[in-house]
Symmetry: C2
DNA sequence: TTTTCATGATACCTTTTATGCATCAGAAAC
DNA sequence: GTTTCTGATGCATAAAAGGTATCATGAAAA
């Protein structure tokens, strides 16, 4: 016969009462049932847990050790059951959130903070990644929500704009354009550009390159960095200029000059994306939260 | 019906295999028995733990939460059973050790270190206390072993000498005796003394006062401190002189002068004391350890 | 398509385990 | 003494767990 939670429950009550009859009453069972359960427990452990006589019952040292461990076990069971129930109704759980440099620099922190206030039991697990990587992770069910550079128009996904950015040109101090208050795209045609890897940053280029094309040039990318911090670093080293967003520029450490681009009218959007069906409960809560956020 | 460890064990195996038939084989039970156990578990929790179809079985989010908690619970049960067994054979446990200032200043640290090497599963819980307090705690079963100022000749206790100290006189720098290389007791007759409270330090006075009486005086105690550090502090402040042991003097911070007392021949003993019967296993191990330490 | 195969669920019966009742034996209180 | 506690034991019953046979369903094979 194996030890079960029943043995531990009975044992703990007896260890509290130190009296078989009273303990059996607290347990709503007969005294012989309790006696035998404790006997079985001791036989299974090969350990005497109680010193008993007709006058008194008291714990042995081993009994005290078992009481501590047994109490922890029962607490663990209760906590596990409670957590499981909470997860099943979406009150607890984990939400895997992807984000780009653009998202984390502006809308995301406040959004996650508000979501946590509304659903404190749901743990947000942030995963940094470029748009293309996030979309793939969403397809592979590695991510619940992505914050990506939009617009996303893929079958099987829904999305919602959470942030818009005006692109700005960023040049190092001392650059020939550094003293200007704004620039036109065409003026950048002969500049060296620092940007991210072509495939990874595809969605950003989808937004930027058409504007350049209209202005009559294709940006000459001379250096690639793996994220926006790296890009700004290379720009401040004088390796070239770049076009990013204002919120990204706010993270720069110095040595850089931001220039509005006068002839770009539209904005770059950052969207929350999620699968259109079979949503996990935390994901559903986040989607609901996003839609409520919009409506006021 | 209540959730038991059986439900958790079966659940964990199924969560691993994700196949009722294979899991039932691993558990050495029939497939219907497993199916029903999982059904009962889910009914008791009011939670669906597995998404099942004829093609596949997979965990729900709640199932994943239950798996983590359930694994922890089983590990806890196993650890508790193991610890309980180890305590029952004396391989693990706690030993409550009392000690005086004299004991901790000399023999005790090395003794406890060696004991820990021999019985790494036994946790030593040190309790500082004067001899009288320790003897009372031993009687009240609040302590397993006392390290006290001897000799102890009380019924119901056994003891063993672990340390001997020559008393020395300690005077502040600049004292009229500070430049001497040794003193005789009688020379201290008119000095002010700093010592511990009379009742608490009874055992120490039992050793010291007869010597003074033989030298023809009763020490005039003008200041009482609660421990030897306090005594040395008051001495270095010039409140008086004291008589303690060399090992205690080693802890002094400065401003003090030690003087051998030429006409005290016998030593002050520190003994380990323990009850003579009904020893807990860790206590028995410590006693055995002490006797082995003596024999080589 | 039909057939075959593997899956999990159900029905029915057996075995095992847990429980209750009645009672015993020993120590303490009266 | 007698009574009154204590925990332990024997026996019968109830509840839980398990096994065998079988079903329904969907995927893969023929």
């Amino acid at each position: 016969m194996k030890i079960g939670l029943r043995h531990i429950r009975y044992f703990l009550v007896l260890a509290e009462d130190l009296n078989f009859r009273r303990a059996s009453e607290h347990l709503h069972i007969s005294q012989p049932a309790l006696t035998r359960t404790i006997q079985h427990l001791e036989a299974e452990l090969h350990v005497t847990l109680f010193d008993r006589s007709q006058n008194f019952v008291r714990l042995t040292d081993a009994g005290r050790a078992f009481r501590e461990g047994g109490q922890r076990v029962l607490n663990g069971v209760e906590a596990t059951i409670d957590l499981t129930r909470r997860v099943s109704i979406g009150e607890a759980g984990a939400l895997r959130v992807g984000y780009t440099d653009f998202a984390i620099a502006d809308a995301l922190p406040e959004l996650l903070k508000q979501f946590h206030q509304r659903h404190p039991g749901i743990t947000v697990r942030p995963h940094h990644g470029v748009t293309t990587a996030q979309l793939q992770q969403l397809r592979d069910d590695k991510l619940d929500i992505g914050f990506v550079t939009g617009p996303v128009r893929q079958p099987g996904f829904r999305s919602r704009v959470v942030q818009t950015d005006r692109p700005i040109c960023i040049v190092p101090e001392g650059h020939r354009l550094a003293s200007r208050s704004s620039v036109e795209l065409a003026e950048l045609a002969d500049e060296d550009f620092v940007h991210g890897p072509t495939e990874a940053w595809a969605h950003f280029y989808d937004y930027l390159f058409p504007h350049c094309r209209k202005a009559g040039f294709q940006p000459r990318i001379v250096q690639e960095a793996f994220n926006s911090v790296g890009i700004l670093g290379l720009v401040s080293c004088g390796m070239g200029i770049t076009i990013l967003t204002e919120s990204i520029y706010d993270f720069a450490t110095g040595g850089l000059v931001p220039l509005p681009i006068s002839d770009i009218d539209d904005v770059m959007v950052t969207e929350a994306v999620w699968a259109s069906e079979n949503l996990r409960l935390p994901t559903q809560h986040f989607v609901d939260f996003l839609e409520q956020s919009d409506n006021h």
